[in-house]
């Protein structure tokens, strides 16, 4: 599997990361190297092997379905780059 610059630009779009031209060029080689290195896993026959979901063998705990936390919007907003109490604000999405 070989990655070209269009693929890198496409991944960056999916990851919502703006890349400088030079960065995108460098990433073509870097990502190709890393991906061709990890592709050695293809040598292994994993037919019938279950994908790992958890390293610790135990059931996920359940708790009662009720609200146990919250009610402090000022704390939640304390680190927002921009807020209009009691909301986070973002650039206009709907005209």
């Amino acid at each position: 599997m070989s990655i070209d610059k269009d693929t890198v630009t496409g991944i960056a779009k999916l990851a919502r990361i703006r890349l400088e031209e030079a960065q995108a060029d460098a990433l073509v080689g870097e990502l190709n190297n890393i991906l061709s290195w990890v592709e050695q896993l293809g040598e292994l026959d994993t037919e019938g092997v279950a994908p790992m979901t958890s390293v610790v063998e135990r059931k996920l705990p359940l708790r009662e379905d009720k609200v146990t936390d919250g009610g402090y919007p000022e704390k939640i907003l304390a680190n927002a780059p921009e807020a209009a109490d009691p909301f986070f604000t973002v650039p206009k999405v709907v005209e």
Binding site: I17, L35, L44, E82, F88
Partner: protein
């Protein structure tokens, strides 16, 4: 001349208990050492006022007979743990100014046990790195130097600031986090003890997430005993982390009996990698001899999928990172870069400017391996191989109680070395990643010096939740090796 900063954590604890020393005196000495060590860039934030307040309260609690297991002990905290009211950066530009309104469970446990916060230590950005060169706040320098060579060395990573703080004796202990070796490799590079507990032993709640199925907090200290004491103060069940395990926390220090009779330790043949330096091979042999002399039976074992651990890790960890780091969007905390006035360009501009090169690389890899059409070929394949790797260990632990390996395939390298090739950097973790993928407890113990005069560590890997055997055998290795070398930073001051 001996000073208060030369005490180990255990010695300081005992002196405090006997009333020979106050936490105020001990903390003052460490605050001064933190100031002295500034040229090494180990700390992103120092908290001397908070430290003195906490020390004072510790002395009061002790006077009223309520001392915890770490009462009055000055500690450094990796800047990946959220600390209420104290800047928390994860070593990233994108968390500029982030001051949590809550405290991570592990640090809350430490403060409840009486610990004193000296400051927040530098790290590779989002804990992604093995050199501490990827921090937005600049590289950390190791207190060690090669003999006759003045070049700056890396302390390893990602917990490089914590490693330097402990090695340069400005904190009695420090927290680290280990995803693929981020506690053990820097411990090996700086001549200290680093302990990665079983996955689930310490809560991840309030620790900035990198790869959630692998991340695990642990102690970094000068001695094995100190790590045993500190882990007791960190560990414990936490309902806020669904992967935290509800098991009692033993008194790990009580496990340090020195009695290894009847134990079987495995030596995996697959860890004899090509071009491993002879001195590391020799140290490994020495470790085998020390354990034999202590009555341990050594067995050669096989962990057949070892060579696939790193490629597996470099699919699983970036995949989880790409999901975890989706939250840095310029809306809720940290940096915001406006872009062209619309929401998507704000996201892209914020993340383009806020993430460093290594983080971008990993988020991109993770996004790719999780994307439609590649998910099965990469991500699911890696998860299947991870099952095989964990199975290797399960098989081995049917035969042996513990596994002995080197911690890292090299001594510390100089700043700037290995920076051009990401895969060369990733190979630093070749011996630590397999046990991370299997979630097992492991320790790095400083046991020797290279020909260049730099520390080298040996690693012990134990069964899940059997931290006690790891500590017990680690302490014997430590004692047998007689490691007592000082970093150049301290030797020059003696």
């Amino acid at each position: 001349m001996s000073t208060l900063t030369d005490l180990t954590l255990a010695e300081a604890r005992d002196a405090l208990a006997k009333g020979e020393l106050s936490s105020k005196e001990l903390t003052e000495a460490h605050i001064a050492a933190v100031e002295q060590v500034r040229p090494l860039n180990a700390f992103i934030t120092e908290t001397p006022e908070r430290a003195m307040e906490m020390a004072e309260r510790a002395d009061q609690r002790r006077a009223s007979g309520e001392a915890g297991v770490l009462e009055g002990i000055p500690l450094a905290i990796k800047d990946l743990f959220c600390t209420e009211g104290v800047l928390t950066t994860a070593g990233s530009h994108i968390l500029d100014g982030f001051t949590p309104t809550y405290e991570s469970t592990v640090t809350a446990n430490l403060w409840r046990a009486g610990g004193v916060l000296l400051g927040k230590t530098n790290l590779d950005e989002f804990a992604m790195g093995s050199s501490n060169m990827t921090s937005y706040h600049g590289p950390v320098e190791s207190p060690w130097k090669r003999r006759g060579d003045n070049r700056k060395l890396v302390p390893g990573g990602s917990s490089g600031g914590s490693a330097t703080a402990v090695s340069a004796r400005c904190a009695l202990g420090a927290t680290g986090t280990d995803t693929g070796g981020s506690i053990r490799q820097p411990a090996s590079f700086t001549g200290i003890v680093g302990f990665k507990p079983t996955y689930g032993r310490c809560s991840r709640w309030g620790v900035v997430a990198f790869a959630s199925s692998l991340d695990q907090p642990g102690p970094m200290t000068r001695t094995v005993r100190d790590s045993a004491i500190m882990l007791r103060g960190m560990a414990g069940y936490d309902p806020k982390d669904s992967t935290s395990v509800d098991l009692p926390v033993p008194n790990y220090e009580a496990a340090l009996t020195g009695d290894l009779r009847g134990l079987k330790v495995g030596v995996p043949k697959e860890y004899r990698v090509d071009d491993m330096p002879q001195e590391i091979e020799d140290l490994w042999k020495a470790g085998i001899d020390w354990l034999k002399a202590a009555g341990v039976e050594i067995k050669e074992i096989s962990l057949p999928h070892t060579k696939y651990a790193l490629p597996t890790y470099y699919i699983v960890a970036p995949a989880e990172a790409s999901s975890n780091l989706a939250r840095y969007d310029g809306v809720r905390y940290g940096l915001r870069v406006e872009g062209e006035g619309d929401l998507t360009s704000m996201y892209e501009a914020t993340r383009g400017e806020g993430f460093g090169q290594e983080v971008k690389r990993r988020v991109m890899i993770g996004t790719y391996v999780l994307s439609a059409g590649y998910y099965d070929a990469y991500y699911n394949k890696a998860r299947r191989v991870r099952t095989l790797i964990a199975g290797d260990f399960k098989g081995a632990f049917a035969e042996v109680d513990l596994i002995l390996t080197p911690t890292a395939p090299s001594e510390a390298f100089a700043e700037g070395e290995k920076m051009d090739d990401p895969i060369a950097m990733y190979l630093n973790d070749v011996f630590t990643v397999p046990s991370s993928l299997a979630g097992l407890p492991a320790i790095s113990v400083p046991t020797g010096l290279s020909a260049n005069g730099l520390p080298l560590g040996l690693q012990l890997i134990g069964r899940a939740f059997d931290e006690e055997t790891v500590f017990r055998v680690g302490a014997v290795l430590e004692e047998a090796s007689g490691f007592d070398a000082l970093p150049a930073w301290l030797a020059e001051r003696c």
